[in-house]
């Protein structure tokens, strides 16, 4: 479906505007398909699901925002048009920062924020930033290696995602390449620059009026768990789930760990909202 020009995958079920709903926000150079199992699971377990393509990504053709705040502005505007009073925000990596900013803009609507592979500041090395501008193909290869847990492990996730027989590493690279081809080579540099230059994380975290869940991959090389410490400390109502042997591509490398953590958190947030 489309909401105010943004594409949203609804988890294989029609979106029920009357149900409690969950908004899933992907990270840099990605699209809604990184949530393939989790969006289907939530949609078939009582929640309405919107796995968005961020503006300028995938099937959302809106202009590409240059900052985390601009992403949030656009998404908050779209979500504000929906009738449902409250929703849970789930964001991965850059999407986690966007989720914080959406929550800041719609405090009375957000029942919970789950941050996967979140960090603040989300600093990007100058070498990688340069590569995203000057040699996006090489940058995507670097990002793809760093996005998965060390050594051989990414080639042996059990079971793979979205199921047996799939390669999580090469799906991730092909998805980044697809975004570059469909949405433009400039997306990669824009996304990483947006992450690097975002300054409002602590204020947004302190302003949260809802529970926050941090899902961290113990083997995350892009946003190591320690890089989330400041954000975690800034949240009044927080829970941290650490997934062992899991890299930055948490949903792909450990779909079951992510599913269990999200399920508990969404249940809790929705129950609290209903009360």
């Amino acid at each position: 479906m489309r909401i105010d020009g943004l594409y949203a995958y609804t988890g294989g079920k029609a979106f029920d505007a009357a149900a409690a709903f969950v908004v899933l926000l992907h990270g840099a150079q990605h699209d809604h398909s990184v949530w393939i199992l989790h969006s289907r699971y939530l949609a078939h377990h009582g929640y309405a699901v919107l796995a968005l393509d961020l503006p300028g990504h995938g099937r959302s053709s809106a202009p590409l925002p240059a900052s985390v705040e601009a992403h949030a502005e656009r998404i908050a505007g779209a979500l504000a048009t929906l009738a449902s009073p409250r929703f849970v925000l789930v964001g991965h990596s850059m999407g986690a920062l966007v989720a914080l900013e959406v929550a800041r803009r719609l405090p009375s609507r957000v029942a919970g924020v789950a941050l996967l592979g979140g960090a603040f500041p989300m600093k990007v090395s100058e070498a990688l930033l340069s590569a995203t501008r000057d040699d996006p193909a090489a940058a995507m290869q670097m990002i793809n290696v760093w996005s998965h847990s060390a050594a051989i492990a990414p080639f042996a996730a059990r079971p793979s995602n979205p199921g047996p027989g799939f390669s999580i590493v090469w799906q991730n690279l092909r998805l980044m390449e697809r975004i570059a081809r469909v949405n433009g080579a400039e997306v990669l540099a824009a996304d990483f620059s947006a992450c690097n230059s975002y300054r409002g994380g602590l204020e947004a975290a302190q302003a949260l009026r809802c529970p926050a869940l941090f899902i961290c991959g113990v083997a995350d090389q892009m946003t190591p768990p320690k890089a989330a410490a400041a954000l975690i400390d800034a949240c009044a109502d927080r829970e941290v789930v650490s997934l062992p042997a899991t890299g930055h591509a948490l949903m792909a490398e450990n779909p079951e760990g992510v599913r269990q953590a999200l399920r508990r958190f969404v249940q809790r947030c929705v129950a609290a909202g209903a009360a």
């Binding site: 995958y9 294989g12 699209d31 398909s33 393939i36 199992l37 289907r40 699971y41 078939h44 377990h45 995938g58 090395s125 290869q141 670097m142 793809n144 290696v145 760093w146 050594a151 051989i152 492990a153 080639f155 042996a156 059990r158 079971p159 793979s160 995602n161 979205p162 199921g163 047996p164 027989g165 799939f166 390669s167 590493v169 090469w170 799906q171 092909r174 998805l175 390449e177 697809r178 081809r181 469909v182 090389q221 779909p255 079951e256 599913r259």
Partner: protein
Amino acid sequence: MSAPRYPGFDTLALHAGQQPDAATGSRAVPIYATTSFCFQDSEHAASLFNMERAGHVYSRISNPTVAVLEERIAALERGVGAVATASGQAALHLAIATLMGAGGHIVASRALYGGSHNLLAYTLARFGIETTFVDPRDLPAWRAAIRPATRLLFGETLGNPGLEVLDIPRVADLAHEHGVPLLVDATFTTPYLLQPFALGADLAVHSATKFLGGHGVAIGGLLVDGGSFDWQASGNYPVLTAPYDGFHGMVFADESTVAPFLLRARREGLRDFGACMSPQVAFQLLQGLETLPLRMQRHVDNTRRVVEFLVAQPNVAAVRYPELPSHPDHELAKALLPRGCGAVFAFDLKGSRAAGRRFVESLALFSHLANVGDAKSLVIHPASTTHFRVPDRELAAAGITQGTIRLSIGLEDPADLIDDLARALKLAAKVP
């Protein structure tokens, strides 16, 4: 932070898709000889069936041993995933049946393995899928054969029997210009010699029976998806971009941006046609795959020695091997196959069909049989075996003479192979 790097090919051949077994610590890939897998509860069962969670349900759809093989070949090919099948023929059928039904059209190289030719020319035609065959070297012919109903271009990386080198970059560009994918049969090259996706192909099939398994003990096929073809943008594949009633209205291209083809191939093709691979076979093929880099290099080294010998023999009319300057695709082979042109090739013996028969029957070390890609050297005389019913005119069109001999060079001491060939050549020369 050290420079990012993927594990190398040799490492992936040994490790990709597997970690020591969590339950037992088994270093080797365990053979999960089970038809089915217990559910934790009804909710778990429902979520597995509905693709909400990853896992195994029934070994026709997926199996842990088979999955290691699938993920290993995907890693070696740098593809988004793979489906293992009962044979190479089953892999080719699965690829086609996933993409089209009656009314679909394929443009295929005419330099194909006989079994593939039969499937396309006769069997699929019976189900309403038509194929136009073209000279693989004739790019205008490929272009001219494409119709609005065309859904696939197909060729072998190295053709049969002339080892025509498929110009993958150019044929892929042509396919993409028309919004269709290029499928290649990469059996003769394996990912060690040629990586189809890096050259522009979209899908690959293997008869894993051959060099991937490498020991002539198990029949199996693999269908691998490079993940680059944009099914949504093409607009030609409602099978992937429109709701599928057979899976609760699933739109595969909505679920997965880069792997909808594989989702449907498994969720429909394996489920309904059922040509799955057994875990025992997957285990045997994995044993072979572990040494693929070592074996392929030796296959190529031995082949070069044998080719060098045959070229110098007076009663050999021609040797067709792309590394020879006389081969029409020599320059293309240098560009696409820098590690070598494989270990299957044909040569033409001077003389009659009887001379060809005498040659084959005189060999002691080469095994006379209808297979290629074994660790042991193999030989066949097409005019008196695989093509014995084919009229002479059609034989000639396929590049086969009365004296054409196909060899699959194994891993023996090359001096012994050459001795065997020399003796048989001498005896064949005595046949009028």
